[in-house]
Amino acid sequence: MKKTISSVLLILAVLAVLTTVGCQKTENGTAAAEETAAESVENKLIIYTYDSFASDWGPAGAVIPPFEEQYGIEVELKSAGDSGQVLSRVVLEKDAPQADIIIGIDNNMLAKAIAEDVLEVYKPANISNVPDHLIFDESFHVTPFDYGYFAVNYDSQSMDNPPASLEDLTKPEYADSLILMDPRTSSPGLGFLLWTISVYGDDFTDYWNRLKPSILTITDGWDSGYGLYTAGEAPMVLSYTTSPPYHVEYEETDRFKALLFEEGNYMQIEAMGIIKGAPHRSNAEKFIEYMLTDDFQEIIPLTNFMMPVSSKTQLPESFNYAPVSDTPLLLDTADIDENLDTWLDAWLEAAVE
């Protein structure tokens, strides 16, 4: 026993020493990183984004090479999991910024990003292409590049009486019919929680209690949820109004449909911003301007399956199957930042009960 205790103490001591050394290293490292940043070549741009944006099937392959050619700037695209992980990475690197642009901050994350003070203000000239109601950050820490509405999607082959409202979803006829996502691990999941809060206010936990019988399961991410839905496990799933166009475009079927609800549909607006201390600031500005042009915007619909923010951009025909809500819902970003943890706790209590 004595031996064990002394060995634990020894290990702890070693860990303590290593940690201290590690901390000191950080301080030196910061200085070193700043030097490299200053020396770096001018014609570069380093972008952080979420993984599906960077993938072969995402927008990156179609928008980055033309930008590089047009501006003679070499782009280094680095992806780091989902958008939440990308932002945590930027926050971790706050003292020694490694990248110029972060792609993928949405209306629900903005306040956190501003509070962490990792973004630079920039108001692009091309912002005139974007209608006012999509400019959710009037302080211009970020600029929107695409948007969509969260929507309950349903399979018209297995359901002929779809619900017309959030309230309808609680009806007994929809027992075990809906697949949702966990707001702690998924951004559509978080979007749906905020949707219920923007409609029911403080009574949202009551709504969730009434909704519970209709929920088949709550998945960790959109991936599993949508996979289960298209495998026929449940007739309804939480997704976007822009999901049906995929099936129309690539599978030539309109069996999967998105629903607009009477209370309105909650919005997700995706944006990008310049990172504070960006080593290639002026190139970053060029990229933001480029992002608002047609060259970039017209790629968005069929690669990211979201709506382009520019009102000038023509939509592909399959997007006729993406309904547009005339009651878009959006919570105030400061409100979200202040209450999110309380809301999540309250939701969890209601969901676990």
Partner: protein, 529 residues
């Protein structure tokens, strides 16, 4: 040591963020306490279930020679390598409310509602974890079982012991170290699991520690608390591992034969054993092959016509191989996995050898440390690497070698565990005899010990290969998403709605692992597994 640094430095660099009050607060918090006890409970039940299912299989694999034996042994290890999103999909296609099993029963009985409510419950979690993990039990235990000499059993028979008595007094004690080794690995695996638990359990009522860490790191951006909670999880797994190691040491009776006993032919078995073998294999077929086959089946489907019904096609495969990127991903995965085997095997063997034979004062603790790469939350290790990257010169992070090292570290717990169990089981008298006959340490190692460890080597190699081939986080982080491997392609296909294509890629992954295991078994020697 170098390998250790790959794990320890990033972990330390993120654990700078913790505070002990943070840990105390997590323990005091009622909700976290519930989460921790649930995490523990499901892991314990899953472990029992996986070992219980693995035990009869281990008997079959170590006693009977039948056609397709090696195929069965290869297939059972495949679940391990699939990304959780495909495992969940396969499960639902098989056992879901509108899955194959329910549709079949509904057709026969003309029932209106799905008769079997298997999923979205606690038992579904256990079922899925058993599916994932029983191969560990099967492999480790059957390797040990194969080494129990017939002479001891015959001796017990001559002394008049019945079958049950022989099992409990001779066989079980010899198997115990391997059972404990398998159990500890399975336990930690289930302890860290979260996607499977959330989806198949039916939602947040079944949350594990990992989900909470995710929330803190991702949504609340509270990296300090995330790191504290991750450390708490790591400490708990370290504690469990330590207990297991104590148990295993106590159980370590080295009752190993000099030679593996011969296998019996299936046709020469008594009728009862034959029926048992067939029934067991059928259960395995349903539980293991069912979900895998569902994924394969789906990869040959596409939607045809405006009604969106499913039809047979090779389209997913022709699409997949139309561009170069999929072929490149497959190539990358295979190279990395083989390299990870080549590094983790010698490293793990050396570590295990030192732990068992080195008479270290803190050998239990050292062994526990080697299990830790499994016990630290993946998202936290990821953040650790990011905070470490800021310290490194530019461009340093973009190397395939780093990924190979990281995978070797992730595979080490399995490799070390497999080898320590194997080495401990070798009779001390054998080594002494070898020394008496004039062999040095090296000669003994090469001519006596290594041949006896063949089974362990094969298992360790198979585990290292599939852990690397199925790993996603380290690749994403270390390559900044610029090196797509097969699992990364699967996730990317899915996030662009291409579920059928993802199933095709998943099928390719299973095929590659199947082939790799077959080769490993084949060149490892027919006699062992």
């Amino acid at each position: 040591m170098i390998l250790g640094a790959f794990f320890i430095i990033p972990v330390l660099s993120i654990f700078r963020h913790i505070s002990f009050t943070g840990i105390l607060e997590s323990i005091k918090n009622d909700y976290y306490r519930n989460v921790i006890s649930f995490t523990f409970l499901q892991a314990a039940v899953s472990t029992l279930a996986a070992v219980a299912l693995g035990l009869p299989g281990a008997w079959i694999m170590s006693h009977i020679n039948f056609r397709g034996r090696r195929l069965v042994s290869s297939i059972t290890t495949v679940p391990f390598v699939l990304p959780s999103v495909l495992v969940v999909l396969g499960f639902v296609l098989c056992f879901g409310n509108s899955g194959i099993l329910n549709s079949f029963i509904m057709k026969i009985t003309s029932a209106e509602k799905p008769p079997l409510k298997i999923l979205y419950s606690f038992k579904a979690i256990i079922l899925a974890h058993t599916f994932y993990n029983f191969p560990i039990a099967l492999r480790l235990i059957s390797a040990a079982w194969r080494q129990i000499g017939n002479s001891r059993i015959e001796a017990a028979e001559i002394l008049g012991a019945g079958r049950t008595r022989i099992f409990f007094t001779v066989i079980l004690p010899s198997l115990l170290p391997s059972i404990i080794a398998a159990g500890s690995l399975i336990f930690i695996f289930c302890f860290m699991s979260f996607a499977v638990i959330l989806v198949l359990g039916g939602g947040p009522a079944f949350s594990t520690l990992e989900v909470e860490i995710y929330r803190l790191a991702r949504i609340s951006l509270d990296i300090d608390s995330a790191a504290s909670l991750a450390l708490l999880g790591a400490l708990l797994t370290a504690l469990f591992t330590w207990i297991y190691i104590r148990l295993q040491k106590r159980a370590s009776a080295s009752i190993r034969a000099e030679k593996a006993h011969p296998l019996s032919k299936f046709s020469k078995l008594p009728a009862r054993s034959r029926v048992f073998t067939i029934i067991y294999l059928l259960i395995i077929l349903l539980l293991i092959i069912g979900p895998l086959a569902a994924v394969v089946y789906r990869s040959f489907q596409h939607r045809s016509g405006w009604s969106g019904n499913l039809a047979f096609t090779f389209k997913q495969y022709t699409d997949l191989f139309a561009g170069e990127s999929s072929t490149a991903a497959i190539f990358t995965s295979v190279i990395i996995a083989f390299a990870a085997v080549l590094i983790s095997l010698p490293a793990g063997f050396t570590a295990a050898y030192v732990i068992v034979r080195g008479r270290l004062t803190f050998s239990g603790l050292v062994e526990t440390l080697f299990m830790l790469p499994m016990g630290v939350s993946a998202i936290v290790i990821g953040l650790g690497y990011y905070s470490l990257f800021t310290l490194l010169p530019e461009g340093f992070s973009n190397k395939g070698l780093l990924i190979v090292f990281a995978h070797s570290v992730i595979a080490l717990p399995f490799v070390v565990r497999t080898f320590t169990t194997g080495i401990r089981a070798i009779k001390g008298s054998l080594i002494e005899a070898s020394h008496t006959l004039g062999e040095g340490h090296l000669g003994t190692l090469l001519r006596v010990e290594l041949p006896l460890l063949k089974g362990s080597i094969i298992s360790a190699a198979a585990f290292a290969f599939c852990i690397s081939a199925g790993e996603i986080n380290a690749v994403l982080i270390l390559s900044d998403g610029t090196t797509p491997t097969i699992p990364i392609s699967i996730y990317r296909l899915i996030s662009s709605y291409q579920f059928f294509g993802a199933c095709a890629m998943g099928t390719v992954l299973m095929l590659i692992c199947g082939i790799a295991f077959y080769l490993i078994d084949h060149y490892g020697g027919d006699e062992i597994f």
